[in-house]
């Protein structure tokens, strides 16, 4: 399966990276990691790219890592359409101090607008 993982620099994104890479190794998925500019994130895109590259190397998985600029949700959906991905994966949301799940704007946009299945990784 051709999977497009979109990550910014939030903790749930990095967790989704670990889990999706693990899953791709097991399932033989063809993975592309799209690093998005998330204004809500503390980590820079360069840091996230370095981190993703290291995680992929550790897992021995050959996957594209791309930096996507522009509006993150829209660019991710367009990439999924343009390159015929079967699935988009994203982080499953941050937890509030109370423990409530909060979905960010990127996740909301992708869920509503993606032409393919969207997985929120928990």
């Amino acid at each position: 399966m051709k999977v497009l993982l979109g990550i910014g620099g939030s903790d749930d994104s990095l967790d989704a990276l670990d889990r999706t890479v693990e899953r791709a190794v097991e399932a033989g998925d063809e993975l592309t990691v799209a690093v998005l500019d998330n204004p809500e994130s503390e980590r820079s895109a360069d840091e996230v790219i370095d981190h993703a590259t290291a995680v992929l190397e550790d897992a021995g998985l050959d996957a594209d890592v791309r930096h996507i600029t522009g509006d993150p949700g829209s660019e991710l959906v367009q990439l999924a359409e343009r390159e015929d991905f079967d699935q988009v994966a994203l982080g499953g949301g941050e937890r509030s101090p109370m423990g409530k799940i909060r979905l960010g704007h990127i996740a909301e946009f992708v869920l509503l607008n993606a032409p393919v299945t969207v997985t929120l990784v928990r």
Partner: protein, 186 residues
């Protein structure tokens, strides 16, 4: 009703608070300062029996061990917790959790068998009075936009919508002008 629920948002009761609910049951609202007493165990039991269809935004979790670890992050630290009791049973819980900045996040749960009889309003007002008496000023919460009953409750006690652009509505309230009543009779 002629009790504290009619006095408006500028004045909240502080715990302990006793009242008769809409079903004529004697309800007491008390603080829950610590995880290591029987009250905490009774609260775990309330959540263990909580109707899963009434969960919101991933909480409360299901299963006793997950409930316990979730509650341990809320009780005994810097959060403010109040529990509504009917006889020996916990029937409602409301909490103010520090957000790491200036504010506190609020949540309230009332057991499915005790809803619709005025407990939620008393519980949230007593929590706000408890917070105000301890210097809490900025309180916020998020609520799913379809949850009209909860939104109506929050508006009734004085919350205003601050952000409605996401899946959830964000509401907040400034407690700095609130006068917490030390009269606990309601």
């Amino acid at each position: 009703m002629t009790d504290e629920t009619d006095t408006g948002p500028d004045s909240f009761p502080t715990p302990p608070l006793s009242f008769e609910d809409g079903e004529g049951r004697e309800i007491t609202v008390r603080t829950l300062p610590s995880t290591d007493d029987d009250d905490f165990e009774a609260l775990v039991a309330m959540y263990d029996d909580f109707d899963p269809s009434m969960r919101a935004q991933g909480i409360p979790p299901t299963g006793e061990s997950r409930i316990r670890s979730w509650l341990e992050t809320l009780v005994g630290g810097d959060a403010y917790n109040v529990v509504a009791w009917h006889e020996g049973d916990a029937v409602g819980h409301a909490t103010l959790v520090p957000d790491g900045e200036e504010g506190y996040e609020l949540a309230i749960f009332v057991h499915q068998n005790s809803q619709g009889c005025g407990i939620g309003t008393r519980l949230i007002r007593t929590l706000l009075g408890y917070g105000a008496a301890n210097g809490v000023t900025e309180v916020w919460l998020t609520v799913e936009r379809w949850n009209h009953a909860a939104i109506a409750l929050y508006e009734k006690v004085g919350f205003e919508t601050t952000n409605a652009e996401s899946f959830e509505i964000e509401m907040s309230m400034d407690l700095s002008a609130v006068n917490a009543q030390t009269d606990s009779t309601g």
